[in-house]
Amino acid sequence: MAFVDILLGGVFHAAVLFLVAAGLQLVFGVQKIVNLACGSFYALGAYFGISAVNWAIARGMPPGAFLPVLLVAGVALGVIGPAIEALLRTIYHRDEAFQLLLTFALVLMFQDVLRFFWGANPNQLGDLVMSYGKISAGAVTIPTYNVLVILASIAIAAGIGSFLKHTRFGRILRATAENREMSQALGVNVRWMYASVFTLGTVLGTVGGALVVPTAAATLDMPVELVVEAFAVVVIGGLGSMRGALAGALVVGLMRALSIRYYAELEMLAIYLVVIVILIARPAGLFGKAVE
């Protein structure tokens, strides 16, 4: 039964990583930009989620009703997406190095924005997460809220998959990702498409941060920390692939959980060993497309 606890710990971490990596994958898949600021969106969601919940509780909301507030807070932050996309538009045709530098600059700038609005100290939501109780089966116990986070990640993965595959917007989006010029020639408003995709990517990050923060803490260092792990996820899963994000997050989450259990000091080594093996044996990742 102890092994089940370890697996659940790995799956929970995978769920968190997927929420960070999903936005990164979506934006790269369509816009071909490696958006390092995805970790900052996640952190912004976490901080804003705490403020929104505290605001709602101060106005009489029962503590147990915090989940919808977090979701609304995460979605509402999507308003920053079009503004940032307008900035990135200036470097779509530049070298990848410019794109990385600009999105890294955004990471640093967001850190100061978070510091300005929420201060430098870690923010937490106290014991709200306890209001959802625990689920026990034999010796295995898991907080109900952790199960909700895992289910939310699965729902988001399934929802995006279905959205991309079965909706008209999804088909246009995939077509634009395949061939921007042809889509444009066929009348697709690529500028609008890019702004929409970037906003969706932003919302994935902000909702992710807002959802996870009751179990953790919002800190100024979290964007960089998460991006480091998110990179392992996209390298393993394949850059630009949503299925790859899911698979990569599971590999990283489970590798981390197992190494923490059996060789705690080799946590990062174990994860990046997989990254190196993938880079050598299958450079495009498990679900990525090889560049011709």
Partner: protein, 422 residues
């Protein structure tokens, strides 16, 4: 023309001599300038903030009572960040602001680097926290200008002693989850060494080393749960401890009879809510237990003022900061009294060596080797209080001469040979 110039020079010389002669009197009428270097951001931000509030409280009291030997105290506050930048701020305080004393510092990483620079600059410096130890080995055995706090291991030693005192014979397997730097590693090693010293046979079934600031400890908790320890020793601190506590409670790690020792819990005691922090754990509050019913009137007044002003309860960094200011005050006043004139820096340093003060948390003194001795508080948690977080049901008090090595002694050798009363 020459005569006039000579007369002018003589007049200037006389004026200069007069102003020099009046310098000590002038100095006594100006405020004493104390530079504070404390973290305002990051994981130690709340700790630095609490320390600064302790300093401000001390200075308000001192100034209301007429100052230190008649001189008011003026604070110049700088931020503690990484060692390099913090040392630059030390230089600025000493060279540009010309402070009379520097106080502060929470991180051992900073104090270790800053100690040598302060010594080189001959800057009278009193650390709140941190040490100048490399691991547990003292790098500045006989400093002249730097005064240090108690060793970081004091709380781990006391927590270990209480585990032996309360639970000897009730546990055989132990696990550790400690921050992955020298503080965490030394603490867990000290815990095991003390178990050995007191004949507690035990097996370490798990040791986890999350880096400071890890926000997801689910897998670490799962690993601890899988190892089924009778006792968990954890010197996690800052925001990491509430995350661990919440995660461990949610995963059922606290549902069985596992015992817990948290020597540094007092740093974030108000964030450890009752709903996920059970009773019966050993909690360390270091040199200030805010709710001690036999605390001094000074402590009670401070805690009340602190709550009224900040709607929070202070942790031990407030006491460390208060202690540093009281040590400086006592040193200056003793030197002033002995000299019957305003003392120089060397006089003050001589007076601080061995000085005894009453800090917020209780009595303390500064050893001749410039290491502080203070009163420490730990105990077993209870929910029987009016707060939303646990306090201590039983309070154990120890003076740090029972918890830290004497001058020049090796820490591990001290543990083996010391006569420690439980």
């Amino acid at each position: 023309m020459n005569l006039k110039r000579r007369q002018l020079l003589q007049a200037l010389g006389a004026a200069a001599a007069a102003s020099y002669a009046g310098a000590p009197a002038f100095a006594q009428n100006t405020p004493l300038r104390v530079g504070i270097i404390a973290p305002k951001a990051g994981i130690a931000g709340t700790i630095g903030e609490c320390g600064l509030r302790g300093t401000e409280y001390a200075v308000a009291r001192i100034n209301a009572a007429g100052g230190i030997a008649g001189r008011k105290v003026e604070l110049i506050v700088e931020e503690e960040t990484n060692p390099k930048d913090s040392i630059e701020r030390l230089r600025k305080l000493v060279l540009q602001d010309k402070v009379d004393c520097v106080q502060g510092i929470v991180s051992s990483g900073v104090s270790l680097a800053m100690g040598a620079v302060a010594e080189e600059m001959k800057a009278l410096t009193i650390f709140w926290d941190g040490t100048t130890q490399d691991g547990v080995k003292e790098t500045m055995v006989n400093p002249r200008y730097v005064f240090k706090s108690t060793d970081n291991e004091c709380e781990a030693v006391m927590g270990s002693l209480l585990a032996v005192k309360h639970w000897k014979g009730k546990f055989k397997t132990v696990a550790g989850i400690n921050p992955d730097y020298s503080y965490g590693r030394n603490n867990f090693a000290a815990f095991q060494a003390l178990l050995k010293k007191f004949g507690v046979e035990h097996t370490v079934v798990a040791d986890q080393w999350p880096k400071v600031g890890t926000t997801d400890l689910t897998s670490h908790v799962a690993a601890l749960k899988a190892a089924k320890p009778d006792l968990v020793f954890s010197s996690l601190l800052f925001a990491d401890l509430p995350i661990f506590m919440r995660t461990a409670h949610g995963a059922g790690l606290m549902d069985g009879g596992t015992k817990f020792v948290f020597p540094a819990a007092g740093f974030q005691h108000t964030a450890l809510k009752k709903s996920f922090t059970p009773e019966g754990m050993i909690f360390g509050h270091n040199t200030l237990y805010f709710d001690y019913d036999k605390g001094t009137p000074q402590q009670k007044e401070f805690v009340k003022q602190y709550y009224d002003k900040y709607k929070d309860y202070p942790n031990w960094e407030a006491d460390r900061a208060y202690f540093a200011m009281e040590v400086y005050k006592a040193g200056v006043e003793a030197a002033y009294k002995a000299k019957n004139a305003w003392p120089g820096k060397e006089d003050v340093i001589n007076a601080i060596e061995g000085v005894k003060v009453q800090s917020l948390g209780g009595p303390g003194h500064m050893r001749k080797d410039h290491i502080a001795e203070q009163t420490f508080y730990q105990g077993i948690t209870t929910h029987k209080n009016n707060y939303d977080f646990p306090t201590l049901g039983t309070v154990d008090i120890m003076y740090s001469d029972q918890l830290q090595k004497p001058t020049g002694m090796d820490f591990w050798q001290w543990i083996e040979t010391a006569t420690i009363k439980l």
